[in-house]
């Protein structure tokens, strides 16, 4: 994101006056279009960083940047997708160095993280499935975290955030065909993991319960 700043065209009187009408309009638009997605962004940031403090910073930076470049956001397109892309870029620039290697999972870290965060505010729909419903949130979460990043990412964007393939392709900068096959393979891998958890904890995976 290194586009020229479209906003700070210095008009002489905005310095003294609190805010121009144009600026006020932009603020209102920004709140309606962008800030409404703050929970989804925070949730995504948390899953990326595994750390509430970093997630906080990441979301702040994302909104700072988004506000600055709000003029370049194409109206009528999905603002949530636009924000996710900014967040992802910020994450890569800032945290990627320390990121886990794909396939290498620190389960203790994830478990700790999960338990510290579990009792804070959350938003889950607790409906029973006929299948694997004995699996706990934590186990599904761990299974997700065990996936290589390229798979975990598309599953998260698709199943948790509900983005279309086109939006995901744009976010991960890959063709739609790649998104399709990553989702296919990722879900298969996840499936294997879930079955292992179910077995490990003594659940019968063949039948319901």
């Amino acid at each position: 994101m290194s586009r020229p700043d479209p906003i700070r065209k210095s008009s002489p009187d905005t310095k003294k006056n609190p805010l121009s009408t144009e600026e006020q309009l932009k603020q209102r638009e920004f709140q309606d279009e962008a800030i409404v997605h703050i929970n989804a962004l925070y949730n995504y940031a948390l899953h990326l960083t595994l750390n509430p403090h970093d997630a906080n910073d990441l979301v702040q930076e994302t909104y700072l940047k988004a506000y600055k470049f709000f003029g370049s956001f194409e109206k009528g397109t999905n603002c949530k997708a636009w924000l996710f892309k900014i967040l992802k870029n910020n994450y890569i620039n800032r945290y990627r160095k320390n990121a886990r290697e794909p396939g290498k999972v620190d389960y203790d870290l994830i478990k700790d993280f999960y338990h510290t965060i579990k009792d804070t505010r959350r938003d889950s729909t607790e409906t029973e499935t006929d299948y694997f419903h004995s699996l706990l949130h934590e186990e599904v979460y761990m299974a997700m975290q065990s996936l290589p990043e390229e798979f975990r990412e598309v599953i998260q964007l698709c199943d948790i955030e509900g983005f279309t393939y086109e939006e995901i392709a744009n976010m991960v900068e890959s063709p739609i065909g790649t998104v399709r096959s990553r989702l296919y393979r990722g879900r298969k891998l996840l499936r294997v993991q879930l079955e292992e958890y179910a077995k490990k904890f003594g659940f019968n995976t063949e039948k319901d319960r």
Binding site: Y42, Q60, Y63, R122, F132, S181, Y184
Partner: protein, 85 residues
């Protein structure tokens, strides 16, 4: 349609991302292929499990407040604000 083509379309079928034509061919294949049908059902359930079991965390109120402030202060911030690029 062969099984490997059906598998290529599997995720898109789960997510409702097939074109009409693909959807027809895919459905036709499922009717004659129990293996792909089973896999399709499993993939749908896997998606369902993720949707139901993954906890979505809400942003802390302090973060929401500071973002609101940020947008309200608008461009009054100094031009050398600590942007990270």
């Amino acid at each position: 349609m062969k099984c490997d083509k059906a598998r290529e379309l599997m995720s898109a079928a789960v997510d409702g991302e097939l074109t009409n034509r693909e959807n027809q061919a895919f459905t036709l294949h499922l009717q004659e292929c129990p293996a792909c049908t089973a896999e399709f059902e499993e993939a749908k359930k896997t998606k369902q499990i993720i949707q139901e079991k993954i906890v979505r965390f809400k942003a802390p109120q302090s973060l929401i407040n500071s973002i609101m402030e940020l947008s309200l202060s608008g461009t009054k911030e100094p031009s050398d604000s600590p942007m990270i690029d």
